[in-house]
């Protein structure tokens, strides 16, 4: 087996005197899709933000194919180019057209030619069904369309790993579907991904491995079937119960 894409060892993240991530160790192999679930405030998003060095870490280390990812490392910009991140609230540049949003970093950061970046951007947009929106501005798109553009923007950098931070949390149900279908397609292509989500059905469909995070600790880790059918810990059972309604309203 080749070297892992991402290695996290004994990661500790504190905000002030509050420890948000306690000794997280996680290895992500090439082509693997990891889904991170857990109650809100458990540190899921913080974990992703640490992997992209948007947060400083207080202990442990994160390595992308051997290279250290840290807010203080001198080649941080170089490493960040290899990590794609998609945010909950899209974070498209409002003053740029869809196409310019996508090619900004490839042309300015990676110094690729405008023609080549454009060509790839348009091809990727076609794949997510947004070819005709290339010249629109973000404000003219629906939430689901914005999120698909944000995914294309991340893809166009050819990242070695993609991080999805609750990318459907702000969307209406139909739009959730269109975005999740795109991510499922990426999984089919063998992209390496870490996905934080509250969509349990989707988690089960897309994951190679599910991680259950609670209070900054990995409480449980396993295949999706194992995790959703027979969770090992009580906490995971309780957490999964919150997604089903066993009691119906009583009618008098």
């Amino acid at each position: 087996m080749s070297d892992p894409v991402l290695e996290i060892k004994h990661l500790v993240k504190r905000f002030g005197d509050q420890t948000v991530l306690k000794d997280i160790t996680l290895t992500v192999e090439e082509g693997e899709v990891i889904v991170v679930v857990g109650p809100s405030g458990c540190g899921k998003s913080t974990l992703l933000r640490c992997i992209n060095a948007l947060e400083e870490i207080q202990g442990g280390e994160i390595r992308l194919k051997g290279a250290e990812v840290s807010k203080t490392s001198s080649n941080l910009a170089k490493i960040r180019q290899r990590i794609g991140m998609v945010f909950q609230s899209y974070e498209l540049f409002p003053h740029l057209s869809v196409l310019d949003n996508i090619i900004l970093a490839p042309t300015k950061v990676q110094k690729r030619s405008k023609e080549e970046a454009k060509e790839e951007a348009l091809a990727l947009l076609s794949r997510v069904g947004l070819r005709e929106k290339a010249d629109s501005f973000p404000r003219q798109l629906s939430g689901g369309q914005k999120q698909r553009v944000a995914i294309v923007r991340a893809l166009c950098m050819h990242p070695e790993i993609l991080l999805f931070d609750e990318v459907t949390a702000a969307l209406d149900p139909e739009m959730v579907r269109e975005v999740l279908d795109v991510i499922l397609g990426l999984a089919d292509q063998g992209k390496t991904m870490i996905i934080v989500t509250h969509e349990m059905q989707f988690a089960r469909a897309v994951a190679d491995r599910v991680i259950f995070l609670e209070e900054g600790v990995i409480k449980e880790e396993g295949s999706p079937d194992q995790f959703f059918e027979e969770p090992k810990t009580e906490r995971a059972k309780e957490f999964l119960k919150t997604f089903t309604f066993e009691r119906k309203r009583s009618r008098v």
Partner: protein, 229 residues
């Protein structure tokens, strides 16, 4: 209806000359104040503790200098800066000296305006840019300034109107323009119609700056519906 003085000033073109001098002083001072204030505002923003490149001591020092100049009333600043004007343009009277005063007074003001415009830029968008590996220089040029453009233009309008007001005050120590006409021909020689005429003309200039500026700001704002793109 008009006093003799007014007709005289009108006939020998002094009023037109006053309009021109006011516009010229305001425009030139504004341009120079932005050449100094814009980079200063950017530095204040990015070196802030929440900025993209926090440098505590630099932010503190610049902030103190800016606050120092901003807390001095313009009329006192003008008198105090007479030697500085003499040093820079070789004279402490006349419009060239006045432009130095206006720039000294306006640059810190502009810096704060720019700083607050940049602060409005959504932090998430900056993080998105960072996550793609952009360096700080690229973030300033490609994200911060373009994102803040409508707000920067609105700020420029407010700054220009302030500078216009300052330029009228400069008349008290030897500046020219509408302010000087209002003070020496209107106020000091008891011709209220001259004063009011200057007031009226100033209002019109302010209106033009305001209208034009707001229109440009709206046109460049890609976030609002109804703007062209």
């Amino acid at each position: 209806m008009f006093s003799e003085m007014f007709l005289k000033l009108w006939d020998n073109g002094l009023i037109l000359k006053g309009i021109w001098e006011t516009i010229y002083m305001t425009a030139l001072s504004s341009v120079i104040a932005y050449v100094i204030g814009l980079p200063l505002g950017v530095i204040l923003n990015i070196t802030d503790k929440d900025g993209i490149n926090p440098i505590y001591w630099l932010n503190r020092i610049l902030g103190l200098v800016v606050n120092f100049f901003r807390s001095i009333p313009f009329i006192i600043l003008m008198v105090a800066m007479l030697p500085v004007a003499k040093l820079i343009v070789g004279e402490s009277l006349g419009n060239r000296a006045m432009i130095v005063m206006l720039v000294i007074a306006a640059s810190p003001y502009v810096a704060r305006m720019v700083e607050s415009s940049l602060k409005e830029v959504n932090a998430g968008v900056i993080e998105a840019a960072q996550s793609m590996g952009t360096n700080n220089f690229q973030i300033v040029r490609k994200v911060l300034l373009p994102e803040a453009k409508p707000s920067l233009i609105t700020g420029a309008v407010i700054s220009m109107v302030t500078i216009l007001g300052y330029s009228a005050m400069a008349a008290t120590i030897g500046g020219t323009g509408l302010g000087q006409i209002a003070i020496s021909y209107g106020h000091q020689r008891f011709n209220p119609d001259v004063t009011w005429c200057c007031v009226f003309l100033t209002v019109i200039i302010v209106q033009i700056i305001q209208e034009a500026g707001m229109r440009i700001a709206h046109e460049t704002d890609k976030r609002v519906r109804g703007s062209k793109h």
